[in-house]
């Protein structure tokens, strides 16, 4: 089944997700809210814009579409999405990172329904997605796998190993989404290891690649739809995003704000901005 909200409802859902992200990381007093918020519109569109087929009541159903969060530090986003999609109660969200909670700092496949891979060591999710896409083809399932990576993460050599093998096996049921928010742990991606432009790199390896505004839900939905109609090659969608969107101006003195939760006061300001 798919969930296809109207555009206004989709935008409202993204606000709910962002509030969950702020609330859960502030409650945990740790975590990566800004890395989660840059990708919120993309993943909200996947789950609630009629893109992915899934059944929260039957999370391991054969033939389901899969979402793999390769940038595992954006776990607060994944948890907010899965809770809103009905995999588990939103009451669990404030337990993020607390002992005993299945909402660990990075996603744990064994502990939470809807988590398709244990991630947190960057670079592995796309290969896992290649395996899932190969399995779907073997079983003749019309199932698609969506993998979200960071733009710093694509410095991992394994990403390109996966890119090459996905092209070899013509995995047109695999989509790699790059959340290009321009920052990584120690600074701007342009300073650390600038891999832009990414589109020609994916194209050179035999992929269909698009670049879009990762905060424009219409553009996101059109890109996913285009990817669905490409035959014989995997798809990359490079999403230009802003780390911490839409509270980035509040954090202007520290535009990266990597791996830092908001204080309670900052969280209140953030809720007002998110709306």
């Amino acid at each position: 089944m798919t969930v296809r909200l109207s555009l206004p409802d989709l935008l409202a859902k993204a606000k709910v997700i962002r509030r969950h992200i702020v609330m859960s990381t502030t409650a945990a007093a740790s975590g990566h809210p800004t890395s989660s918020m840059s990708a919120t519109d993309i993943v909200t569109a996947l789950y609630f814009g009629g893109v992915m087929r899934y059944d929260a009541k039957n999370p391991t159903a054969p033939g389901r579409d899969k979402f793999i969060l390769s940038k595992g530090h954006a776990a607060p986003l994944l948890y907010a999405i899965l809770a809103e999609a009905g995999y588990f109660s939103t009451d669990l969200l404030p337990t993020l990172r607390k002992i005993g909670s299945p909402l660990e700092g990075h996603p744990n496949y064994r502990r939470l329904p809807g988590v398709e891979a244990s991630t947190g060591s960057l670079g592995q999710g796309l290969s896992i997605g290649v395996g899932a896409a190969l399995a779907a083809k073997l079983d003749n399932f019309d199932a698609r796998t969506y993998v979200l990576t960071g733009d710093g993460e694509v410095a991992e050599g394994q990403i390109w190993e996966a890119v090459m093998s996905a092209a070899k096996y013509r995995l047109d049921n695999l989509v790699c989404i790059i959340d290009q928010n321009g920052y990584q742990q120690t600074g701007a991606t342009s300073d650390v290891l600038d891999l832009r432009p990414l589109v020609p790199k994916f194209e050179a390896f035999g992929w269909f690649a698009q670049e879009i505004n990762g905060h424009d839900v219409n553009e996101i939905l059109i890109a996913f739809d285009k990817a669905k109609h490409i035959k014989g090659k995997p798809s990359a969608i490079v999403c230009r995003t802003v780390k911490g969107y839409p509270i980035h101006q509040m954090l202007a003195s520290d535009p990266n704000h990597h791996g830092k939760p908001l204080t309670k006061d900052e969280a209140e300001q953030a809720y007002a901005i998110i709306g």
Binding site: N108, S121, I128, G131, A162, S165
Partner: protein
């Protein structure tokens, strides 16, 4: 002892056989299928065989993705490459989510010979034992490799199996039991116990015969499963024979010797000696020359046994 096939060859044959009755088995190769012998499966079942190229990290995580999508994934590469190049992937993509991925490392040990140290997995068993959820097996010969592969196929959790390059003597003839986690006693004895796995079983049995000439009767255990270790067999050896030698074609650090020593110290401390590779890389040479130079012969095992203090 009659010479049998290499354990890598037996693995390849056994896997191809399993493919017939197990349509969910898929095999992932890092372009060494003619060496690891997974090509035997690949030729029979080309749609279920994926050569992802010379890319071990991807090899392991692709197998994990197949396994988390309901497939029963096997992958093979040289022990040194899959364990050392892709350890993070084994840890995060396979061990942590506890997926049904069977990892086979071939060309293990210094007995690969002329290709030299870059190709010799001498730390693979220790690394595999450091992966929670993994079972770790090293079969000694062709018949026990077949049984090990069958037994692993019945498990739905991750495992590492080490296989060797050279042909090895047949240790198990006729009917025999092979149970994961249960040592096989190959020789009775009450004066000491020699515990080993894989290629070292041959020299250990020779060493036991040599010791018998001087009236020392050694119990010999094939500890084909390193993890989970057969603590009951270790306890019985310590209690009943009072002295233990462990022999392995592996670095002394982190191998079977370490595991048995921990078990002995906890259960029933007795004097022990260790035969293995002593904190060094080997070199190119003929397998027999290397085994002699790096201290892995029957004579080295006899020497270790004679170095033990006399039984009280």
């Amino acid at each position: 002892m009659k010479l049998g096939k290499a354990t890598r060859e037996a693995f390849g044959l056994a896997l191809a056989q399993l493919g017939e009755t197990n349509p969910d088995i898929v095999v992932v190769d890092g372009d060494v299928g003619n060496s690891t012998r997974t090509e035997l499966f690949g030729k029979k079942y080309p749609t279920r065989f994926f050569n992802v190229g010379i890319a071990e990290s991807n090899l392991v995580s692709v197998a994990a993705g197949l396994a988390s999508s309901g497939k029963r994934a096997w992958l093979a590469s040289f022990a040194a490459f899959v364990m050392c190049n892709a350890y993070d992937q084994l840890r995060m993509s396979v061990a942590f989510p506890c997926l049904d991925v069977k990892v086979v490392g071939t060309h293990a040990g210094i007995s690969i010979g002329e290709d030299g140290p870059s190709q010799m997995g001498i730390e693979d068993v220790g690394l595999a034992c450091s992966l929670p959820n993994f079972t770790v097996i090293v079969p000694a010969d062709e018949p026990s490799t077949f049984k090990a592969i069958e037994a692993l196929n019945k498990m739905r959790t991750p495992a590492y199996l080490r296989a060797g390059r050279p042909n090895v003597p047949i240790v198990y003839e006729g009917d025999f039991e092979f149970q994961i986690g249960k040592a096989n006693q190959l020789r009775a004895g009450s004066d000491l116990t020699i515990i080993a796995y894989g290629l070292m079983i041959g020299p250990v049995l020779q060493a036991a015969e040599e010791l018998a000439k001087t009236g020392v009767q050694a119990r010999v255990l094939d500890m084909h499963t390193i993890k989970p270790l057969d603590h009951a067999a270790v306890l019985a050896a310590a209690k009943e024979t009072g002295r233990i030698v462990v022999a392995e074609e592996h670095l002394l650090h982190g191998g079977l010797g370490s595991a048995v020593a921990m078990s002995v110290v906890r259960q029933h401390p007795v004097p022990m000696r260790f035969v293995g590779i002593n904190d060094t890389f080997a070199e190119s040479g003929k397998p027999d020359e290397l085994l002699a130079k790096y201290g892995l012969t029957a004579a080295d095992i006899v020497k270790a046994a004679r170095d033990l203090p006399a039984r009280k």
